[in-house]
Structure formats: C-alpha cells, structure tokens
Amino acid sequence: MSAIADTPAAARPRRRKPIDGWRWAGRGFLVLMLLYTAVPMIWMLLTSIKSGFAAMQFPPQWWPSEPTLASYQKLLDPQNSVGQDFLRFFWNSLFVSSVTTVLSVAVAVPAAYAFSRFHFPGRRFLFFSVLLRNMFPAVIFLVPLFILMRFLGLVNTHGSLILTYMTFGLPLAIWLLKGFYDNIPIQLEQAARIDGATRFRAFLVIVMPLSMPGIIATAIYSFIGAWNEYIYAYTFLTRNDQLTLPVGIQRFFSENTTDFPGLMAASFMMSVPVVVLFLVLQRYFVRALTEGAVKH
C-alpha cells in the first residue's frame, strides 16, 4: 500500500500511456492464447471432413477440397460394425457417467453439509483426509483395486467404474459444496426448525434449493470426470461390449492407423457432450468456484 501513497504527483500526467500499453499487451496475449487453443480444435474438425486419402498429403490441404461427412456417417451407422461399436461405447459412457453423477451428488451433499454445520470431533481431520484423495494418482490404486473388484465380483462390470469414479469426484465436490453451505445463514434453518421442521426437513426445504448452483457445478464436475476417465476403464474392462468411449476409440484405431479423419471425427463426437454440457452450465461452475473455493 505504501508504495502507492509514495508515488509522486508528477507521475500523473504520464498515467494514460502505460495503461493503454498494458491493455494492448493483454489483447495481444489473448489473441495468442486463442490461436493456441483454437487452432488444434479447428484442425481436428478440418481433418475429420477429409477423406483418408486427402488427409495424407504433403503439403496438406489447408482447406478440404472435397469435404465429406463419410467419417461421421460411418461412426453413426448402426449397420456398420464400427458404427455399432461406437454407438455402444457412447451409450456405455453415458450410462456410467450419469449413474456416477447421481450417486456422487447424493453422497457429497450430506457430507458437505455436515462438514459445514456440525462440530463433531474429528471433523477437520475427516475433511482433510477426504481432500487428500485428490493427491493420489489412479495408477497406484490400480492393482489393489483390481483385486478388490475381483473380490467383489465387479470386474468387467460398470459397477467397478462407478464405484471408483465416485471417489475422484467426491473431494472437490465436498469442498465446493461446503463453501456454499458456509455462506448460507444458519438463521434460515433455525427459523424453519422453530416452525416445527426437523433438521433433515429444514435441510431439504431451505438449504438444498439455495445450494442448487453448487450442486449443479458438482454434477458437471462428476459427469465430465467420469466421461473422460481412461486408466480404470482401460484396466477393469476387457469385454468389448462394456468399453467406454476413451478406451473404445483406441481399440478401433490401432497403433498403425492411417484413418486419421475417422480418429478426428471420433474425438470430436466424444467431446461434444461434455463441451455442450459445460458451455450451457458454465456460469454455475464459475460461480461455485467463486463462492465455494475462492472465498475461503
């Protein structure tokens, strides 16, 4: 603070110029970031509408000379074996991600509420041990979990993935939601309880609706995490009809693939659901981060 107060008044007339400089630097930086971000995605789209032959040219066709939707037709055609697989993987991903999302929210909401409101002994310890889950990579859990899933009879079922995915989502979900509950005045609940509501009812009627943005954000986070997960699906599932998209895609474009248009089309199709979901609901997500994570 003191440095600002010390700034000599003589500096004032020159003030305008450096501000504009910074502003233009900011704009320039944004343009660069936009190129960095968007060019790979545009190239993916452009490649996906080329034929296999057109993609393998040097110098490349910067713009496809004969754009074709053949790759997409192949992926979405239930008569074709590739299409059959793709649609099945898509459905598997959707199923696993949706169930994971619902269960994660159902588990995270009461936990976050308890961490925010109650003062049972061990509360802080439990809270941080839940957060610590974020620290550990999937790989070190693979072998023991595989053995555990075998013991539970869940290998090659979607249940193994759902149970595992819930645990990635939970720490951040609980943390975000706790921030939300911290900001809801407890008097609201107390008023409801004076009116005769049980604690659970007060929670359901007063707190839940107010924390909806946090719940939506949590749901998006779980869904995207589950949709994109790779390692566990890669390890726990071996039956072809069970695979989820990230793993399945790899199976039908083998290591020496030349079908890059097909691969790009599949990557695009795999990204569409999560991108759309995120863009539609992003304001909740940003708001949840602001209120949940950052205000601490």
Binding site: R27, M33, P59, R124, T290
Partner: protein
C-alpha cells in the same frame, strides 16, 4: 497483512467447551450419519489400496496376479529402484514435466484471467473457447496433437516447411530431444484453462474501490497489480499451483497415449513408468515399492496443500 473479507462468516454453534471428546462424539452421533456414506466409499477405495500397496512392496512377486506365491524380500525392491539408471532418468523427466507444466499453465492462466477481467465485446465467447481444452478428454487431446505432430503429415511441420524455415517436417515426438517439450505443450494446452478459471474467480474478490483509489493516487497498472490485485490472489494462487502440481505429477494419459514413454524412456514420467512396470512387465512388487515412494513425495506436497487450505479455513472461522 490485514485481510479484507467481505462479510463475517456464517454464525455457527460453538462447541461446548470442556466436555470429553467421547461425550462430544456421542452427543453428536447422528451427525456422523451425514458423513458416513462418503467415508465408507473413500475407505474402501483408498485406505485398503494404500495398505495393500505398502504390504506388497516388501515382496518378490511372480508374474500374473497369482500373488499367493509372493516371497518376502524386505527392502530389496527399494534398493533395486534407487540403484537403477532408469529411475534417475524418469525422475528427471518427472521434475521437468511437473515444473514446466505447472509454471507455464499458471502464467498463461494468470495472463488470460487478467486480460479477460476487463469487459469487452465477445469476452464471454472468448472465455468459453479458452476453457474448452480443459473440458474435452485427455484422450481426444492426445489424438488431436498426435496428428498435429505427425512426422509426415503434421500441420506444424507443414507450416514450418511452407514458410521455408525447415527443409523437411521435424520429428516432434519421435526424437529424444524434443519429445518432452512437445508433450508439455499439449499438457499446458489442457491445463491452463483450469488456472484461468480459478484466478478469474479469485479476481472477483479484489475490491474495486481499492483499485480505483490506487488509480486516483497515480499508481501505474503494474503497481496496482503488484500492490493491490496480487495480494488478494495469493491464497487462490497457492491452491491453484498446488492442484496443478499434483495433477501434473500424476498425469498419465497424454504421455501414455502419445508416446508410451518412448523413445528410449525420454518421455516416461513416474506414473507411466509404474504402470509399465506393473501391467506391462508384471513386476508388481517393484511397482508397489515405486508407489510407496510416490506416496511419500505426495504426502509431503499434501502437507503444504492442507496447510494452504486450512489457513483459509482458520481465517474463515475467525471471521
């Protein structure tokens, strides 16, 4: 440093002082029911694997998962790791990967967040576009960039050749020298939006009046950033950097799909190496010992993570 918190934290029940912990626990017994489901899931999927991994790291294991035939060998797995050359190579890679990815992602995220903080036409659209790489799957990202880096038909190589900068397309991910930086570019592409979102949220907590007051006092843009904005971003920056560091340290998909750790281990990081030891070469005991070393490193990082978070907690509790 005085903290400028917007409003006082929500009033809460103060725990009854001076009563025994057990009595407290009994009085509040129904409270545990709310946390129980989360704890049970976490316990099954976390505590058991940790115990199991530590145990396995002291055994010589046969290939396959016939783990009944394992033989106790004490610390031999650990000495084998620490004396192997690959270990040091992979460790160096991991340090470069984690540091470079974290620093660059944070700087890009901070720059974008600051530049996007001011309102202008198209700001919302731009923000949305910049976030997309973070949302799409790392698998898709890996394939997109694998195609971009393709040694014959890759678009970057083609641009460089067309501009006359090179006579033939370079090998980005097939060459020992360029593979790691090339993969870091992909990783940053996916990660900087996360830093951007966190810091954008953090910027909203910077009081406008302070910035305006500083401006009236004649502070330059840099001075306003350094003396007003940045101190307010300190705690969110700490959390962001830690989360980025942990995520980068734990990354798997990008190196695994793009190069599988090659060429000649040049892009193997700890996690991909452990995966290969376990599932590729079925050396479960060694992989478990690696994992335990990893735990130790992560717990050290975790200590700082929890400290950063609980500082926020405490501040809030005092508020």
């Amino acid at each position: 440093m005085t903290t400028v918190t917007g409003e006082a934290g929500a009033p809460r029940r103060t725990p009854a002082a001076r009563s025994g912990v057990l009595r407290q626990a009994w009085i509040n017994r129904t409270d545990y029911l709310y946390v129980l489901p989360a704890l049970v899931v976490m316990l099954i999927v976390i505590a058991y694997p940790i115990y199991y991994t530590i145990d396995l790291s002291f055994f010589k294991t046969p290939p396959g998962l016939q783990l009944k035939d394992k033989v106790f060998i004490g610390l031999e797995n650990y000495t084998a790791i620490l004396t192997s050359e690959v270990f040091w190579r992979v460790t160096l890679n991991t340090i470069i990967w984690t540091l470079a990815s974290t620093v660059v992602s944070f700087v890009f995220g901070l720059g974008s967040a600051l530049a996007l903080h001011r309102d202008f036409i198209g700001r919302g659209v731009l923000r949305a576009i910049l976030i997309i790489p973070w949302v799409i799957s790392a698998v898709a990202a890996s394939y997109i960039w694998k195609w971009i880096y393709h040694s014959d038909f890759g678009v970057i190589g083609a641009v460089l050749v067309e501009l006359g900068l090179l006579s033939r397309p370079p090998n980005f991910i097939d060459s020992v020298n360029t593979v790691l930086p090339s993969l870091i570019v992909v990783n940053v592409w996916r990660e900087f939006p996360f830093a951007m979102i966190m810091l954008m949220a953090g910027l909203q907590t910077v009081p406008d009046q302070l910035l305006r007051a500083a401006q009236v006092d004649g502070a330059s843009a840099w001075q306003r950033f350094w003396h007003v904005t940045f101190p307010h971003l300190r705690s969110v920056s700490t959390v962001t950097v830690l989360l980025l560091a942990v995520a980068n340290f734990n990354s798997f998909i990008i190196p695994w799909i793009m190069t599988g750790g090659g060429p000649s281990n040049a892009s193997h990081i700890w996690i991909t190496h452990i995966y290969e030891l376990a599932f590729g070469r079925q050396r479960w005991g060694v992989a478990a010992a690696y994992s335990v070393l990893l735990f130790i490193i992560l717990m050290t990082l975790g200590y700082f993570y929890v400290r950063a978070l609980s500082r926020g907690e405490r501040k809030e509790a005092e508020g």
